[in-house]
């Protein structure tokens, strides 16, 4: 009869003796750390030695056995039953029996969740219903906050101006460093890239026209809106989402305060207010960056800014600022909406934040496209 002794790095050893009945002796500690390395080999050795016959497992040399050790014993039991064999354990203490009990009890327990396997028609119906509910909740939110905004215009004293200023400071003033960096680099890159091409025709001075019109009408508002979405839209969603998870939104409702008026209106007003200001600031910094580059190409700053003032008029500036205000409205609204739609748990806040940024960027791009068509039609 072949007898093999195995010693794992952990202190669980086993030996197997073939025969009728086959015998397996376990010795040492049986815990989560010691059974792992020998788990597969113990089960395989037991199957090889016993086949469909009886297996006697001797535990008399086991010095310690906890729940994980019992898991191995239970797996031996199960594996023997699957082979059509039998298993008998010698030296089982009361404590080991106690650890084995939950394994035996858990056998055959079925999930309390209703079966998920539904016909395609049911899944389609559920899918359509979910999309419908989503659209309904967005329309309801737009109606709710539209009415809150009208209320704010009709009764300005009811607006929480303190909160509005606090949000405006966080979304606007505190964003100046990043806005400065991005706008400056945008101006530098635009000027540099176009100057290289224009130089071939001796038309470097027209770089001022190109940069000014692009920044004021298009890139200034667009870049600021994307920055606002990443910085403040995400913050609005996370703040309101966390309040939702902590039931603070419910607390507002039960205190008779409308969460939309209390939480959303200040953020939307702040968004609409700071977006044009940030855009104006970004335009100036961008033009400054471009002017510095052009100085390197031999065009004095005075000449550059003279050219800028000839190239653009007030309509270019105001149309860009108007777009920025609309983008600010979209970013703040979608950030607040996603925050209010937050489910439960920390992961839900993360999902809301991601969704707020992605939705805001999509809406900004769509709105920008619509503005392009509208301004063309209106010849602005």
């Amino acid at each position: 009869m072949a007898e093999k002794e195995h010693a794992a790095a952990a202190a669980l050893r086993y030996s197997v003796r073939e025969g009728s009945p086959a015998r397996m002796a376990l010795a040492g500690r049986m815990d989560a750390y010691s059974v792992g390395p020998v788990w597969t080999s113990v089960l395989e050795a037991a199957a090889r030695a016993a086949g469909t016959g009886e297996l006697v497992v001797d535990l008399s040399d086991v010095t310690y056995c906890d729940g994980s050790g019992a898991a191995l014993l239970y797996s031996l039991e199960q594996s023997a039953a699957q082979r059509g064999g039998a298993l008998r354990m010698n030296g089982v203490t009361e404590a080991v029996e106690g650890h084995l009990k939950p394994y035996r009890e858990a056998e055959g327990v079925v999930s309390a969740r209703p079966p998920q396997d539904q016909p395609w028609s049911r899944r389609l119906r559920d899918g359509v219903s979910t999309v419908g509910q989503e659209i309904f909740s967005q329309i309801a939110f737009i109606g709710e906050y539209g009415s809150a905004l009208v209320g704010a215009v009709r009764h300005p004293r009811r607006v929480r101006w303190g909160d509005t200023l606090r949000v405006a400071e966080a979304a606007g003033f505190q964003a100046l460093p990043i806005v400065s960096l991005i706008a400056f680099l945008l101006g530098v890159i635009l000027a540099f890239q176009s100057a290289i091409a224009m130089r071939q025709f001796g038309a470097e001075i027209f770089v001022a026209d190109l940069v000014a019109i692009s920044l004021l009408r298009e890139l200034g508002p667009l870049m600021m809106a994307i920055l606002l979405a990443g910085r403040s839209g995400a913050a609005f969603a996370a703040e309101i989402g966390t309040m939702k998870v902590n039931e603070e939104v419910n607390a507002l409702t039960t205190m008779g305060l409308d969460p939309v008026r209390f939480l959303v209106v200040p953020k939307i007003l702040a968004g609409v207010f700071v977006a044009p200001l940030l855009t104006l600031y970004a335009n100036l910094i961008g033009l400054l960056g471009a002017a510095l580059v052009m100085r390197g190409f031999g065009i004095p700053m005075v000449a550059f800014f003279n050219q800028v003032s000839d190239a653009v008029d007030l309509t270019d500036l105001t149309s860009g600022l108007f777009k920025a205000a609309v983008f600010g409205l979209l970013v703040a609204s979608v950030g607040c909406l996603r925050g209010l739609q937050t489910g439960t748990g920390a992961a839900a806040v993360g999902r809301s934040t991601t969704s707020a940024v992605v939705s805001a960027i999509i809406l900004i791009v769509i709105a920008d496209g619509l503005f392009a068509v509208l301004f063309y039609q209106l010849e602005i």
Binding site: D31, A32, Y33, V35, G36, P37, W39, T40, Y64, D66, G67, S68, A70, A71, L72, Y74, S75, T93, A95, G98, H99, K101, P102, Y103, E105, A106, V109, V110, S111, A112, R113, G343, T344, G345, A346, A347, A348
Partner: protein, 267 residues
């Protein structure tokens, strides 16, 4: 390796202390909460830390599990000083203790099964099948085997606390720390949880350190209690709560354990 295997399940000396707190002074910065605490927790017992709100019960628990460092003194888990253990020694101690927090602290993005399996995945070489089997048995132990594929947000607060206990037991710790296990639960759920705690100690030989101020739970589960006092920043009573209720002279202890409205009624 630090070895706490002295619990009843091993048939070793039950009277031996698994945790010894010696001259512990704790606090935050210059604010001292408790001074010169001395007590020990015996293997296999349910040891309850009592005290009024703000007396430092949970802070003491967090010191015992090594989340906070004491201002002075030692917390010996087995033979190792939890306050000063580092690296591998600290990991050894932490593997032998399980902790559940006041709010359950289950990971919301994982199912109950995945929550319970996580410590096994991190610390052992067990194959997936074995980890699933163990996780399922732990959930069965707390009566949640059929909820393994549920997310924490889909189950009640009481179930979350039981699932948190299952996760804390994944590696079969020798000592289980429970912070306010029955807080916010209805009396029936709370009584079920007390029963579970008793069962863990009696059938699995686990040592439990419980922070609570639920009077019904204290008498249902505690073998021994210590009572912390915010005013004197010390332990004002130690022993069997049933005996303390009848014999202790300290008015606050009597009032606490009898739930009297005034000092006169309890005296």
């Amino acid at each position: 390796m630090v070895d706490l295997n002295r619990a009843g399940a091993d048939g070793m000396d039950d009277d031996e202390a698994v945790i010894r707190v010696e001259d512990l002074t704790m606090g935050f910065g210059s604010m001292v909460i408790m001074e010169n605490l001395n007590f020990s927790v015996r293997a296999g017992e349910i040891f309850v830390i009592l005290g009024g709100s703000g007396s430092g019960k949970s802070t003491l628990l967090k010191h015992m599990i090594g989340l906070y460092s004491p201002i002075a003194g030692r917390i010996l888990i087995g033979e190792a000083d939890m306050a000063r253990a580092e690296g591998a020694e600290r990991e050894d101690i932490l593997r032998q203790v399980g902790v559940t927090y006041q709010m359950g602290a289950l990971f919301g993005s994982m199912s109950l099964m995945e929550n319970v399996r996580l410590p096994l995945e991190v610390h052992t070489d067990l194959p997936l099948e074995a980890m699933n089997r163990i996780a399922r048995a732990k959930l069965q132990l707390v009566g949640l085997a059929e909820y393994g594929d549920f997310m924490p947000s889909e189950i009640s607060g009481g179930m979350q606390k039981r699932a948190a206990i299952a996760r804390a037991m994944a590696l079969d710790p020798k000592v289980l720390f429970l912070d306010e296990p029955s807080a916010g639960l209805d009396p029936i759920t709370s009584a079920d949880l007390d029963q579970l705690i008793r069962r863990l100690a009696s059938t699995l030989g686990m040592t439990l350190v419980v922070v609570t101020h639920e009077l019904a739970s204290i008498f249902a589960i505690a073998d021994r209690v210590i009572m912390l006092d915010k005013e004197t920043r010390s332990i004002i009573a130690e022993g069997d709560p049933r005996v303390l209720r009848e014999t202790n002279d300290h008015p606050w202890v009597r009032r606490f354990l009898r739930r009297s409205e005034t000092e006169d009624q309890s005296a």
